[in-house]
């Protein structure tokens, strides 16, 4: 066992990697990046087809490619990478062996087989049903089967994460409570289990329906349960990327949470309330009562929004406190001006936080309001919103983490470091611009998942305003910039892992060195509460955020008040 259970201490970060966990983290992360590459190429095809007048794909291929883009990005890329994060946050951060590595390999195999099966089903052309695959539209049975296999694999991975927490506790590899980042990962895992259960409840009958064993799937029931998968999977992303935010704060600045209590309570609020957001997709549906919609869409009194606003303060706040301790104390923002903007690990995360909050967060609450939803339901505003949350929020955060993992986990130097330094900025210009132009076009009524908003050749066409065409054209420009930014990430990552300069892997030892509290305390020096008002720069930024939020929210009510009466 000494060979298989050996541990490596990374000399750069001091993290301890369990050998089997290390390999599993690597393969899952790499599989994720492969799907990111595939999804990225599809993204370029989708966006350029939607640029007015371009139509680089015909309608049939467009809907096929759009279906694949959605699943490859929202499900396969993110969940593979999240499995890597789960193993990292349990085995590595707790300095424990990974529970049941053989099952982890099974999980990985199922996920790979599932993802390939679904992709093959889509590209064979009989499953252009979009990611949502709303019944009664039917895909090839292999489409659902692939998703089910992938979900089973994901579920096994979640339980391996939980098992590793148990192992670490039992083998006393750490003392006290698990780190905040592991707590966040636990939040993600719990939500993931709920997500996958919802997926199983609806996709298994839908699969049976597609092969003829079940006659009818109620389309409204499908929507209600499917969104337990569709939206909750994005909440897994939120919990995961916020954990990454905290982790990077600790890695780059040695930041400690402003308050363990507040940050953990905020994660707890996610577990309790975040999944209710599935109802956001059903606000303009028939057959669901207003009471149900209000209670659910508000995450029950907006407790999950409250939690996100807390993380939005405490993540940059913790960075500010750490920077001020280093002596960057002048004015409100010296800590931010003197932040390591040329370190892609930091710049990715900071751009992720700002974009997630200002673009994704505010738009999400607006469209998740029962009545306001009517203004944007199924318009291209919706993809605008979730490109801000999932791409700027999650993908960019994962990219930032990658630049840390290349030396730490893969023991390789980051190749083309100049490109890596520019990558977060190029990608952000593209994605911020894309999200904003999509939201702009959606506000003007442009539908999502639509090949031709010009309605050419139709007897009763509608001409969207010129501004909508302008937005969709600009969207294409930003999409190309984002594609270049994504390509830079792939180039740096793949090149570094395959050909990058090998770094010292560090010592190996048969047993982990456990985490003991007095050691940690010595690093800290003195406890919390070092000074009030320490995060005042972040606090003022938070107030600016709140101002933008309030303004945008009420502008939309005013707009709603001007349209036809409906009740």
């Amino acid at each position: 066992m000494a060979m298989t259970d050996s541990f490596r201490i990374d000399p750069r970060s001091g993290l301890q990697y369990h050998k089997q966990a290390e390999t599993l983290i690597k393969v899952n992360a790499v599989a994720g990046v492969v799907f990111l590459l595939l999804g990225g190429i599809l993204a370029l095809l989708v966006s350029l087809t939607r640029v007015p007048g371009l139509h680089i794909l015909d309608a049939e291929r467009f809907y096929m490619v759009l279906t694949a883009h959605g699943l490859d990005m929202l499900i396969f890329w993110l969940l593979f990478f999240e499995v890597a994060i789960l193993y990292f946050c349990s085995s590595t951060l707790l300095r424990s062996r990974l529970a049941t590595p053989r099952w982890a390999w099974l999980a990985f195999a199922l996920m790979v087989i599932g993802a390939i099966t679904t992709n093959v089903a889509i590209f064979q052309g009989q499953s252009s049903v979009m990611m949502t695959s709303y019944t009664p539209m039917q895909a090839h049975p292999a489409f659902y089967l692939g998703l089910i296999l992938f979900a089973v694999g994901g579920l096994i991975a979640c339980f391996i994460f939980l098992g590793t927490l148990v192992v670490a506790k039992a083998e006393k590899t750490y003392e006290g409570s698990v780190p905040l980042v592991t707590f966040g990962a636990l939040t993600a895992a719990i939500i993931a289990i709920f997500t996958i259960a919802s997926g199983a409840i609806i996709l298994i009958p839908t699969f049976l329906w597609s092969i003829g064993y079940i006659q009818h799937i109620d389309p409204l029931m499908y929507r209600v349960i499917w969104w337990g998968l569709g939206h909750s999977s994005q909440q897994v992303n939120v919990a995961a990327h916020i954990s990454v935010w905290y982790a990077v704060g600790a890695i780059v600045f040695g930041a400690k949470p402003m308050s363990e209590k507040v940050s953990r309570t905020a994660f707890l609020l996610y577990i309790l309330f975040l999944q209710l957001a599935s109802a956001h997709h059903l606000l303009s549906d028939p057959g669901l009562s207003s009471e149900w919609k209000i209670l659910n869409t508000s995450y029950f009194m907006y407790f999950a929004v409250l939690a996100s606003m807390l993380h939005g303060l405490t993540v940059p706040g913790a960075m500010e406190v750490a920077q001020r301790k280093k002596g960057y104390t002048r004015g409100l923002y010296e800590w931010l001006r003197k932040a390591p903007w040329s370190n892609p690990v930091f710049s990715s995360i900071f751009l992720s936080i700002i974009g997630f909050g200002f673009l994704g967060g505010i738009s999400g609450v607006m469209m998740g309001t029962e009545q306001l939803n009517m203004l944007i339901h199924n318009t291209i505003y919706v993809p605008g919103h979730f490109h801000a949350t999932v791409v700027i929020g999650t993908t960019l955060a994962f990219m930032g983490l990658t630049y840390f993992l290349i030396p730490s986990l893969f023991s390789r130097d980051v190749s083309f470091y100049k490109i890596a330094q520019w990558q977060p900025y190029v990608f952000s210009i593209g994605m911020y611009g894309l999200a904003l132009t999509l939201m702009g076009a959606g506000t003007l009524g442009v539908p999502r998942r639509h090949w031709d908003i010009g309605f050419s050749g139709m007897p009763l066409p509608y001409e969207f305003p010129g501004a909508a065409y302008l937005m969709m054209t600009l969207m294409g420009v930003f999409a190309v910039i984002a594609f270049i930014g994504g390509g830079m990430y792939i180039l740096v990552t793949v090149w570094s892992i395959l050909f990058g300069k090998r770094l010292d892997e560090g010592q190996r030892q048969p047993k982990p060195t456990p985490l003991r509290l007095p050691v940690a305390e010595a690093i800290e020096g003195h406890g919390g509460g070092a000074g009030l008002l320490e995060a005042r720069g972040t606090f003022t930024l938070a107030l600016v955020f709140l101002g933008a939020f309030v303004l945008y929210y009420f502008i939309n009510w005013k707009y709603l008040g001007s349209v036809w009466g409906i009740n």
Binding site: P136, E175, P286, M374, P447, G528, G561
Partner: protein, 179 residues
């Protein structure tokens, strides 16, 4: 001590919270309450609320009800497909069918009059998107949604389908007139 290590203080839940953080919690919570109460407020004082009225219905039944309205109130037809333009009396029940890849029939309504609009889909799910008003509703087969609408502007409005419904989805566009 940092976020990737266990909390330095074993009893971390008794540590005091910084004043600024407490302020932010209070502010964010109050804002969350405002967000919450805006929805019931609008139900009482606002004019745009989605109704809760919906029924289960088969495609054939809905087709029949729509046909009855069309037989009674058609004033003319439009396009080569002879889509009927229907002018039902103010206050009446009006029906709109969503099917591959067409909205049927064309409704002609009067400004500031109220109509009970019934929506259902014959086959796949569709999206009712009234442009340029930008009112968007989900249209689901097997369900009949009833919304009371009061057009407050005159003109020719477009109905775009904004739920993906197959290869002809982008050809599904029609009109609604308000006089």
């Amino acid at each position: 001590m940092s976020s990737i290590l266990p909390p330095a203080k074993r009893i971390w839940w008794k540590e005091p919270v910084e004043k600024l953080e407490v302020w932010w919690i209070v502010i964010a919570f109050l804002w969350a309450l405002v967000l919450f109460f805006m929805m019931p407020y609008w139900h009482v004082f606002g004019k745009q609320n989605l109704s809760n009225e919906a029924y289960r219905i088969s495609a054939a039944q809905f087709q029949q009800k729509t046909q009855e309205m069309v037989d009674k109130y058609t004033v003319r037809t439009e396009t080569e497909l002879n889509i009927p333009v229907v002018q039902p009396p103010a206050g009446s029940d009006v029906y709109l069918i969503a099917r591959l890849w067409q909205w049927w029939p064309i409704l002609e309504l009067e400004k500031d009059k109220t109509y009970r609009l019934h929506l259902s889909a014959m086959d796949y799910q569709h999206g009712f998107s009234l442009q340029p008003e930008n009112i968007n509703l989900q249209v689901v087969p097997d369900y009949e949604m009833v919304v009371t609408i009061t057009p407050n502007k005159t003109g020719s409005f477009a109905i775009v389908c904004n739920e993906y419904c197959g290869i002809g989805h982008h050809q599904m566009v029609s009109r609604m007139y308000v006089k």
